[in-house]
């Protein structure tokens, strides 16, 4: 797992990901800054001392629950423009079911258990993105 301010190159990340020949199923998810509602910029704050620990714990849980050959979490912070990549997860498993489920699990947990906060900047002001109750609900299925 990695947390960084700099942009990442998805293709480069994946070329080094899971060279293990047993990993016949690989799932990748990438989150991008959405430009609806006149958004100018997305600012992402995090809690550096906790982020590493939280992401490691989330990854460890996924590895315990599914038979994964590999797993990668990458999350950015700082000021991001519309269209920029925010984060990615990649999972590799023998079979696709484990890879898909683990990727969804990682996404659900990153959303509400990793210490990141998003602030949206508009032409006429700014506002903190509020967590949705559906995000919390999503954790219950795991």
């Amino acid at each position: 797992m990695r947390v960084q301010q700099a942009p990442f190159d998805l293709a480069a990340e994946l070329s080094g990901f899971s060279q293990n020949s047993a990993a016949g199923a690989q799932v990748t998810f990438k989150g991008v800054v959405r430009g609806d509602g006149g958004l100018r910029m997305l600012e992402i704050e995090h809690y550096p001392a906790m982020t590493q620990k939280a992401l490691e714990e989330i990854e460890a849980q996924a590895r315990r629950r599914w038979d994964l050959e590999d797993c990668l979490i990458l999350h950015r912070h700082g000021r991001l423009q519309v269209g920029e990549d925010i984060m990615m997860v990649a999972t590799a498993a023998k079979h696709r079911s484990d890879a898909f489920l683990a990727a969804e699990f990682l996404m659900d947990y990153l959303k509400s258990r990793a210490p990141f906060w998003k602030k949206e900047h508009f032409a006429d002001g700014e506002r903190w993105v509020e967590a949705r109750s559906s995000d919390e609900e999503a954790l219950k299925r795991w």
Binding site: M50, L110, K111, A114, P115, F116, K119, A131
Partner: protein, 81 residues
């Protein structure tokens, strides 16, 4: 004890962190003590349903004990991903 704040809690309080010597035994007691400091703290802690806490970088409940804890973080519900 070090107290750290993030997102709108940091903005409302006007500080990213502060040092505190406290006799509070639990997070709830610490919140009551902080909220009594001034208007900024009182406003930040006025809706505890919107506040989450981490003790030494691990999520905890509001009634969690503070024994041996060196860093307490207060922040709104997380919005990663």
């Amino acid at each position: 004890m070090k107290i750290v704040y993030f997102a709108w809690l940091r903005e409302r309080i006007g500080l990213p962190e502060e040092e505190l010597t406290t006799k509070a035994q639990t997070v709830a007691e610490l919140v009551a003590e902080l909220a009594a400091r001034d208007e900024r703290h009182a406003l930040a802690f006025s809706d505890m349903g919107s506040v989450r806490v981490a003790l030494d970088q691990t999520l905890a409940d509001l009634d969690a004990p503070l024994d041996g804890v060196t860093e307490v973080a207060f922040f709104p519900p997380m919005t990663g991903g």
